[in-house]
């Protein structure tokens, strides 16, 4: 400390001074910006419009766009401090190659040369499918589009999936089964215009707080929240349905049962726009209110009340997130949600939608363009029309398109364990925190001949295991677009230059293509993200996710545009899908799906008496790679905790704040601070998943939805012990 400060002559007044900023008004001088760059928030998929304030090459402030149609001048705590993620100390700056066991700085040319050589050697020896690629929902759409072509056509492997499979895959496959295509049908405005809103397994107050202002503005609504935990969102509800874990499918079927029996259904809509009603009606007979009450732990009266409210709603909205998706029955639960909307015709008009509230900033972009679970433009691998269409657009032989989807994320991991996947490219995701049952993952990664991790940060738990680390530019340093939950495409802009030698993922992909010798073929004349965007506009033309009317210029001027936006469409009003009742199935009719409820796979027993639920906290984003670097967020939520009901704690002799271990059949998390609270039911415990230091995914299980391949993160059986005391 300087002497003048020590004796008190200096009180750092200059550092703590204020300015009257023309944009921000009176504020800390630390935030005074020379210029403002409009962009879209890079955390979650709400898609808030904001500006980054830049001084020199430093992002010093952010502000919400007041007139932005999504966030209306507000940002969540992560968004409000987002500029701090850019200048973090642990940003990856240089390509690092493992030489004699140690990561050593190399040039980009050497790095990419090594990467293509090693991948090539592996693929030559073990076949093209021995290369796996795990991508993300964090890149811009242009990058997803580019990467999809690079992996499927350049590297020739279809063992390519994103961390979106850990997140929204059940919504995707549920939509595909019910409506014939992915694509959330509603708009945020529906939250404001619905008179009945049912949120299932969605704690938006913690995870999408900016959407809460739509609820706040809707004074006429009845808000029903189904969640086993009394979350912040449940506290906002008019009716909270504290159902037993993973009984949502039974509840939904029970509601459908009452709707059918009490004739609260829209026969005209069902007749014209759906198939499968008779089978469904028969199937639902078993889901009597009494049986559903016994399964869910709710009263028959609560189920009736919910069914009548939804059945009689002028505009009924059903929103869901991970409580539904993170399940071995995620797809079916989504189908049951869609059933309710179809039975009552609550879809395609203002306020009425079944609506998945997406997680990552651009999970939607990768779903549309990414070439993982479907081909770009929601094209199906097995649809000859789609195949010919795409091959023609790309001017390639149709046979080069993969015949089917490759391995999904968990199957790529399994493949690595089994030795079928020998090299892996992980992009902008951190499975060492996020993948369930970490033991399996560690075994998978240790089996690999070559692991490339491309990330904006190093070290992360995952980059530390890499043979090659590729430093990428992050949000705020690159250009492109994100698509949000309501299918609004938002522009993302570079505010500052990336640190060191870090490069935008787009540039990295083009350089890899160049090393492979496929750049000119796959990306003729491309140099900037807009080139990819323009090709994507052509490729999406006429598809459900039609971007052809969207230009970069329009995005800047209108603060985002919702798809479908065919060329020539200038309408700025909220867009919804299926307004005419025509769906993306061959016959244009939506499917009513019989989805039988089953108990979750790992039931508690004497040795593992608690059901462990996992989730998030408002201060942190996913695996905390970014938010750990934001001092105020880290300060507000510095460590994991385990929630337990006081009644259970009393039986075990635990006190609040004592340290506990959580043990499942697969592993143990040590030294977690115990929080005694009535927000969790007796017999259940809850723990946030953001924290590598105490990683709940050491104990979660390898159980996946058979269709979407999404992990069942939300329920597994555990026991809880005092740390250091073995029973």
């Amino acid at each position: 400390m300087k002497l003048t400060r020590l004796i008190g002559l200096d009180n750092l007044a200059a550092e703590y001074s204020y300015v009257r900023d023309p944009e921000l008004g009176y504020t800390s001088a630390k935030r005074a910006a020379e210029r403002w760059v409009k962009t879209t928030c890079g955390y979650c998929s709400v898609g808030c419009g904001m500006e980054v304030g830049v001084r020199g090459n430093e992002a010093v402030a952010v502000r919400a766009l007041d007139q932005h149609p999504v966030n209306r001048g507000k940002l969540c705590p992560k968004g409000l401090s987002e500029h701090h993620i850019i200048a973090a100390e642990n940003r990856a700056q240089y390509p690092l190659l493992r030489v004699n066991g140690k990561l050593t700085r190399v040039s980009w040319d050497d790095a990419l040369g090594e990467m293509t050589a090693r991948f090539g050697a592996v693929q030559k020896k073990h076949g093209p499918q021995s290369l796996g690629v795990l991508s993300t929902g964090q890149l811009v759409t242009e990058e997803f589009y580019t990467l999809g072509k690079l992996v499927q056509l350049g590297f020739g492997t279809n063992n390519y999936d994103g961390n979106t499979t850990l997140c929204m895959a059940s919504a995707v496959s549920g939509y595909k089964v019910s409506f014939g295509s992915d694509g959330p049908p509603g708009a945020y405005e529906d939250l404001e215009r619905a008179d009945v809103i049912l949120l299932i397994g969605a704690n938006i107050a913690d995870n999408h707080p900016i959407l809460c202002q739509y609820l706040e503005a809707n004074r006429e609504k009845t808000l029903i929240v189904a969640d086993p935990r009394v979350t912040k969102t449940a506290m906002m509800a008019d009716i909270h349905l504290p159902l037993k874990p993973r009984t949502d499918l039974a509840l939904l079927n029970g509601i459908a049962h009452i709707l059918v029996r009490e004739r609260l259904i829209d026969h005209a809509y069902i007749d014209q726009h759906t198939t499968g009603f008779d089978e469904l009606a028969r199937f639902l007979e078993d889901y009597t209110p009494d049986r559903v009450a016994a399964v869910t732990g709710l009263s028959a009266e609560q189920i009736y009340r919910t069914a009548f409210l939804y059945g009689r709603a002028k505009a009924g909205f059903i929103g869901w997130t991970m409580g539904v998706n993170h399940s071995t029955q995620g797809t079916e639960t989504v189908n049951a949600i869609c059933n309710l909307a179809l039975l009552t015709g609550q879809i395609g008009h203002a306020g009425a939608a079944p609506f998945s509230i997406t997680g990552q900033c651009n999970a939607m972009g990768t779903r549309e363009t990414g070439f993982t679970s479907s081909m770009p433009g929601y094209r199906k691998f097995d649809d000859p029309g789609d195949r010919n269409d795409l091959a023609a657009l790309w001017k390639i032989d149709e046979s080069r398109l993969p015949a089917k989807r490759g391995c999904a994320y968990p199957d790529i991991v399994e493949g690595a364990v089994a030795g079928r996947i020998r090299a892996l490219w992980i992009i902008a995701t951190n499975p060492l925190v996020s993948f369930p049952n970490q033991d399996v993952l560690r075994q998978a990664l240790s089996n690999l001949d070559f692991l490339v991790v491309q990330d904006g940060y190093h070290p992360t738990p995952t980059t530390e295991l890499a043979h090659l680390v590729l430093p990428a530019a992050i949000w705020g340093e690159k250009e492109g677009t994100y698509t949000n939950s309501e299918r609004r495409v938002g522009k993302v802009n570079a505010a500052v230059r990336p640190p060191g030698d870090a490069r935008p993922d787009f540039d990295i992909f083009l350089s890899v293509a160049e090393k492979l010798g496929v750049r000119d073929e796959l990306y003729p004349g491309w140099s900037k993200p807009e080139d990819a965007f323009n090709e994507w506009r052509r490729v999406s033309r006429g598809r459900l996710c039609d971007y052809s009317g969207i230009t970069y210029q329009r995005l800047e001027e209108e603060d985002g545009v919702q798809w479908p936006c065919p060329e020539g469409s200038a309408d700025q009003a909220a867009r919804r899908l299926y307004t005419d009742g025509t769906f993306q199935t061959p016959d244009g009719r939506a499917r009513l799906v019989c989805a039988p409820w089953q108990p979750f796979p790992e039931q508690p027993n004497r040795d593992y008496p608690f059901v462990l639920n996992t989730g998030r906290t408002v201060e942190h984003w996913h695996t905390r790679t970014k938010t750990k670097e934001v001092p105020i967020l880290e300060r507000l939520s510095p460590q994991a905790w385990l929630e337990m009901n006081p009644a259970d704690a009393q039986k075990l002799g635990f006190r609040s704040h004592c340290r506990v271990d959580i043990i499942s059949r697969r592993g143990r998390v040590r030294g977690v601070e115990l929080r005694l609270t009535e927000i969790i039911a007796p017999g259940q415990v809850f723990m946030p998943f953001h924290y590598f230091e105490t990683n709940v995914n050491e104990v979660t299980q390898s159980a996946f939805d058979p269709v979407s391949r999404e992990p069942n993160y939300k329920q597994c059986a555990v026991r809880v012990e005092r740390t250091g005391v073995t029973s």
């Binding site: 008190g8 107050a205 507000l636 039911a681």
Partner: protein, 527 residues
């Protein structure tokens, strides 16, 4: 302060009455049309303040979703480090699953009608703005004594060690002046925080309606914040941060000061008694050394300040601040003690000083010292720190003076005067009694902070506490049984250590009042 907000309101201009500046410039987005059919939601005042009115926060607990946007926005607005949060969000919980209620309490400064931070400030760094009632703090005037942080029942002023000064929420008064909403108001996605106008006289009657679970009583300093509570809060609704109590800062320089100044005052008291009982020969050495100790301890106390070089400013607040009065009292004591020691020196060399003059000087020294210690102890008697807020605090400090003063003089060659040992024992017994009464008082209280202090003393602080009490008993026995010079010195050192430990316990065991915090332990340290 310029107040265009008010001027424009007077001029009948209502255009500025918007939650954010940007919204006034742009057309309302389409989706907002619905909202606009409702009465306009204005989050900052629409009219000028009239005499007898001030601004205040309104917090609507029914709207808050605990997202902490306000906390982050405040830190960004003020460029504060993460550890310093001028706005904080606490949690309260009640009911039983599934009828659980969890609510959040977002609080900045309450801009009290009788701000205890302001009254206690020795340097007049605080002002209550005459027009707006906003309690403002000047970082330039502040010397970092942190007395305001002890005086506020809500933990609002927070010390920034990096700067050496305190800071606090000023309701973004400069933004308000410009017609813009404060950062927290602007950031809240739910519109849960607003600035409104309060009639201060009426509020003196109504302020009890400001009380909320997890919030210290509004009576402490007449908090102006209005809180809208949810209907039918569960009867067991309360804060969630009560299960883990942290030790407070020990304030080492103050530990040193609060032992040594009292020893010095006690020593001059003993010397004065020796003087008037005619056994005053040889007082020069104890007087000079006591004076030196007093000077050192006063000097050491400035190390407690964030800005020691400006310590002199602490005289400014003498009209209201007990800290200023302590500085004055102890300075007077040091002055009188110097004069007394000077006379003793003269007497040593000339023998010409009248005994009456010496005893008068000794008495003056004692008087100033007692006044100084009285101010010292009074300044800890604050509502915001319940375990200090009792007559036991002066009793503790004066007992130290009575214990250590005689032991010091005795160890300076007056080991023959047996009454000194007796006086010290009386001091030890008084201290023991004070401590026992305090422990019983804390243990039997139903006030959370007092019970929490008791819990600390019986758990984490049990050993230091027992050692401290044992030191008192051992001192008594040694003082009564042995009077060799070596024994006297050992007894004194033991007693000093015991009292030092006691003072450390005094500082770390206090559980201050504060607004409810979040469960997270580290989050609470910030509070």
């Amino acid at each position: 302060m310029i107040l265009p907000l008010l001027e424009r309101a007077r001029a009948g201009d209502t255009e500025f009455v918007l939650a954010s500046r940007g919204a006034s410039r742009s057309k309302a987005p389409e989706a907002l049309v619905q909202i606009n059919t409702e009465p306009a939601r204005t989050l900052i005042p629409q009219r000028a303040l009239r005499p007898g009115e001030q601004y205040r926060f309104h917090f609507d607990m029914t709207k808050c979703i605990g997202c902490k946007c306000c906390v982050v926005a405040c830190n960004e607005q003020n460029g504060n480090p993460a550890a310093i949060q001028w706005r904080r969000v606490g949690e309260i919980e009640g009911g039983h699953y599934p009828h659980t209620q969890r609510h959040y309490l977002s609080m900045g400064c309450n801009h009290c009608l009788e701000p205890s931070c302001l009254a206690g400030c020795p340097v007049k760094a605080y002002t209550k703005h005459p027009a707006t009632g906003i309690v403002l703090h000047s970082a330039d005037t502040c010397i970092g004594c942190q007395y305001c942080t002890w005086n506020c029942s809500y933990g609002v002023p927070q010390y920034n060690p990096e700067r050496g000064v305190v800071g606090k929420c000023d309701m973004c008064h400069n933004r308000l002046s410009d017609g813009m909403a404060p950062a927290c108001v602007n950031a809240c996605p739910e519109g849960a925080i607003a600035i409104e106008i309060v009639d201060t006289l009426q509020w003196r009657i109504d302020h009890l309606t400001a009380d909320a679970p997890g919030l210290p009583p509004s009576t402490d300093s007449l908090s102006t914040t209005r809180v809208t509570l949810p209907e039918a809060l569960a009867p067991n609704t309360g804060r969630v941060d009560t299960q883990q109590i942290h030790l407070e800062h020990p304030h080492w320089p103050l530990v040193v000061m609060l032992v040594l100044t009292q020893m010095s005052v006690g020593a001059f008291g003993a010397m004065w008694l020796l003087q008037i009982t005619g056994s005053g020969g040889g007082l020069l050495a104890p007087a000079l050394s006591s004076l030196l100790i007093a000077a050192l301890s006063l000097g050491a106390s400035t190390l407690h300040l964030g800005r020691p070089v400006h310590a002199w400013r602490a005289l400014r607040g003498w009209r209201t601040s007990w800290l200023s009065r302590e500085v004055i009292g102890l300075s007077a004591f040091a002055g009188a003690a110097s004069a007394y020691a000077g006379l003793l020196v003269l007497d040593e060399f000339t023998g010409a000083i009248l005994p009456a003059l010496l005893s008068a000087a000794g008495f003056m020294t004692l008087l100033c010292g007692v006044a100084g210690v009285a101010c010292s102890s009074r300044l800890y008697v604050v509502k915001a720190r319940p375990s200090w807020n009792s007559p036991l605090t002066p009793a503790e400090l004066f007992s130290t003076a009575l214990l250590l003063g005689p032991l010091f003089v005795r160890a300076m060659g007056f080991n023959g005067a047996s009454w000194l040992a007796a006086a010290a024992c009386a001091g030890a017994m008084a201290q023991l009694g004070t401590q026992v009464i305090k422990l019983l008082w804390l243990a039997r209280s139903d006030v959370f902070e007092l019970r929490a202090s008791s819990l600390l003393l019986s758990t984490r602080l049990e050993r230091p506490l027992l050692a401290r009490l044992a030191a008192l008993i051992a001192t008594t026995i040694l003082a009564l049984k042995f009077n060799s010079m070596t024994a006297c010195v050992v007894t004194l050192l033991l007693a000093i250590c015991g009292e030092g430990l006691g003072r450390w316990i005094f500082f770390v065991s206090v559980v201050p009042k504060n607004i409810a915090a979040s469960f997270s332990a580290a989050g609470r340290k910030a509070a």
